[in-house]
Symmetry: C2
Subunit: 185 residues, 2 copies
DNA sequence: ACCTGAACACCGTTCAAGT
DNA sequence: ACCTGAACACCGTTCAAGT
C-alpha cells in the first residue's frame, strides 16, 4: 500500500522531471496526491526536505553498486558502470542537477549515499588495476578522474555543449570510452 | 558613467553570487539600484532575461581567448587555460551553475558566446597536437574530453564530491593535470 | 525614453483547529 | 497521527499613469 509520503515523493518527482525544482510547488504536489496544500508539512519539514528525499533516493538507485552484472573483464564492468551513470544523467537531467546542486540543512542521508557510491567506484577501479587494464597509482585519484569525465561529459551534453554534428561529433558515452582507451595505453 | 542597466546587472550579480538565482528578486535588484521594483522591466523582458545577460557576460569574460598569455609550450598554454576555467568555476559557483543551467527563451547571445569559446579551445588543442605534445586525432573530440574533465572536476569539487583528505586527496586542478600527463604518454 | 505605484495571481510557511 | 482552511509575507508580472 502506498503511503501519503510515498505518493508525495512520486508526484514531486513527476513535477521535478517536467519543469525543475521551481515547478515543484507544495500546493501542486498536495493537489496531485489528493491532500491539502500543506499536508506535505506533516511528512517533510519543507520544500527543501522534500527535494532532498528525492535526491537521496535517486543517489542510492543510481549507485554503481545498484546495477551490477557479470562482465568479461574488470574494465568492461567499470565501463558499463560509467555508461550507466551517463545514461541516467541524460535520461533524468533534473534529478542529476538536483543531486549535484547546493545542499543546505539536513544532508546526512545524502552524504551517506554519496560515500557509499564512492566506495563502489573505487572497488571497480581497483579490480581493473589488478587486472593490469588500468595504470597503477592511487585508485581514489584515478576514480576521481573517471567520474569527473563521466560527470562533465554528461553535464556538457545536457546543455548542448558537445557538438552534435560534423567530424567532432561525440556523445558523452564516447568521451568515457576515449578516456578508458587512453588509460589502457 | 554607469547606466541603470549596468547597475541592475551588477546588483543582480551580487545577489546571484550570494544566494543563487532564487535570491535574485527583481524587487531587491531594483531597490539596490535605487529604482522601483519594476524598473528592471524597462531594461529586461523579465527575470530570465536579466539572468541570461549575466550568463552571456561571464561566458565571454571566461572564454579561453580572454586570458591569453605567452607560455613556454602549447601544452602549457592549454593547461593554463584549463586551470583558469576551473579556478573561475570554483570562485564563482553560482555563475558556473547558471551558465550551464537550462536555458529557455532568447539564447542567441549565449549560444554565440559558447561557440566562440569552443573555437578558442580547439585552437589550443591543435597547437599542442602540432607540437606532438598531445595524441593525434580529431581535435574537437580531444577538446571535448579535456573540457569534460575540467567541467566535471570543477562541478564535483564544488559539491564536495572530491575527497578532501587522505591519500586520494585531489583537487580539480590536479585531475586536469593527471589527464594531460596520461595523454602525453 | 524611463520610471512609479497599484494590482493580480501565485508560492512557501505558520497557525489554530478539526478527526 | 494526520489533515484542513485561513492567513501572512513574499515574488514575478501587468497595467495605467506620470515626466
Amino acid at each position: 500500500m502506498e503511503s501519503t509520503r510515498d505518493r508525495l515523493i512520486a508526484e514531486a518527482t513527476t513535477l521535478l522531471d517536467a519543469g525543475g525544482p521551481a515547478a515543484v510547488t507544495l500546493r501542486e504536489v498536495g493537489k496531485r496526491a489528493g491532500v491539502s496544500h500543506n499536508a506535505p508539512y506533516k511528512h517533510f519539514s519543507g520544500k527543501q526536505d522534500l527535494l532532498a528525499a528525492i535526491a537521496a533516493r535517486d543517489l542510492r538507485q543510481q549507485s554503481p553498486a545498484a546495477g551490477r552484472r557479470r562482465r568479461a573483464t574488470p574494465t568492461e564492468a567499470l565501463r558499463a558502470a560509467l555508461h550507466r551513470y551517463v545514461a541516467w544523467a541524460v535520461r533524468h537531467p533534473q534529478r542529476f542537477k538536483l543531486i549535484f546542486g547546493a545542499w543546505s540543512g539536513d544532508v546526512a542521508e545524502l552524504y551517506a549515499a554519496a560515500t557509499e557510491a564512492r566506495a563502489a567506484w573505487i572497488e571497480l577501479v581497483v579490480a581493473a588495476q589488478d587486472a593490469d587494464e588500468l595504470p597503477a597509482g592511487d585508485p581514489e585519484r584515478l576514480m576521481a578522474l573517471l567520474t569527473a569525465v563521466a560527470h562533465g561529459a554528461a553535464d556538457l551534453a545536457l546543455n548542448g555543449h558537445l557538438s552534435r554534428s560534423g567530424k567532432g561529433r561525440a556523445n558523452a558515452q564516447d568521451l568515457v570510452d576515449d578516456l578508458l582507451d587512453y588509460l589502457r595505453g
